[in-house]
Symmetry: C2
């Protein structure tokens, strides 16, 4: 599989392709042209072919893509073959909303545990996921593999919580705190869901419509 | 003010500049060089100057930028001068998390009302914001200006809820449903917070680290 200098834009299109191909599979669709895929994804057919060519040869001239094959291939590229392990730190409204409604498994993750400072939650479960005290993070991380921590803690403790988790070996963060987190460790990855940036962008767009 | 063919990438950087300049103002910092601003924002100084040049002339050779002036100017560009009006549709865990924790006013919006199907919520308030029945949407929209609807309804009713709001005149959507919404109206704007795309991107990054 080729994979050199894949641009951020291409990487961010892969999940959309993947989810649409899953939908097509569910509907029993067997093949699709780059033209139709492009129309649905709002990119050109040539963009589609270019995106996929970053990862190897898919599709056949005149036939298009085999939906099931392409879905599996993009799933593999995304890293969905083996589930990654995830914990959530900060089980407030947002953390609970995620645990109750978000399909972590479909994004390649097993949500194993949640941590909070609210003693009333210790020992309880949210959607089957046990909630522990943040004081138990050290012990937990010594005996459980954790690839990603979802950070949904208050802003004031966002960086310190991340620092603590990094010291304990966590290298991936799904960051909901609206704080721009940093780390000196070069292998730490922050993926941010930044509500404020998103709404400010919307404000710009409706203003300059 | 110049403003032609501003790229999506530039628009998405504006909120980050704006928020950082707000932080600097709060700290009493009066001026900053494009170099320092770039280092903090993780872009080059020349990128900074290029971004700002899309909107006019800011800063002075050898002096840098006046923080307060630049903040106000970017705020104006983002459309923050006059607050826009916003309603939230779907007051479940996620909707409540947003109403309780998110500073809509800092992103240029007044959060005026929430709507849900759960009769137990009708007449209540979440963080001072009244909750009404979705059946009251028509009446409400006839007598109140609404620039943006936050959509935090279940996936199954995402498109139909958007369609209804569009028929009632809403033209901006902050979409949390993970559904790719569409409209035939050319002036409707969807800004998506797409949890699944984001986590799949993180999955890719930790897999190919």
């Amino acid at each position: 599989m080729k994979r050199e200098n894949i641009s951020d834009a291409v990487i961010r299109r892969l999940p959309r392709y993947y989810r649409y191909l899953c939908d097509l599979c569910d509907k029993g669709v067997n093949r699709i042209s780059s033209q139709s895929l492009g129309t649905k994804m709002n990119v050109t057919a040539s963009q589609i072919r270019q995106d996929f060519s970053c990862f190897g040869e898919f599709g056949q001239q005149g036939y298009g893509y085999n939906v099931e094959e392409l879905k599996c291939e993009i799933g593999r590229i995304l890293g969905l073959e083996n589930p990654h392990h995830l914990i959530l730190v900060g089980a407030g409204n947002l953390g609970r909303a995620l645990l109750n409604n978000f399909s972590f498994d479909r994004a390649g993750f097993s949500a194993d545990a949640a941590f909070d400072t609210n003693a009333q939650l210790f020992g309880s479960e949210i959607n089957g996921i046990p909630v522990y005290s943040v004081d138990e993070l050290d012990t937990y991380l010594q005996s459980h593999p954790v690839d990603v921590a979802v950070l949904s803690v208050p802003q004031a403790v966002a960086q310190s919580t991340a620092d603590r988790l990094i010291r304990l070996g966590v290298r991936g963060f799904w960051n909901f705190t609206n704080v721009e987190l940093t780390s000196r460790e070069p292998d730490v990855i922050f993926e941010n869901i930044h509500f404020a940036n998103s709404l400010l962008t919307l404000c710009y767009r409706i203003t300059h419509r």
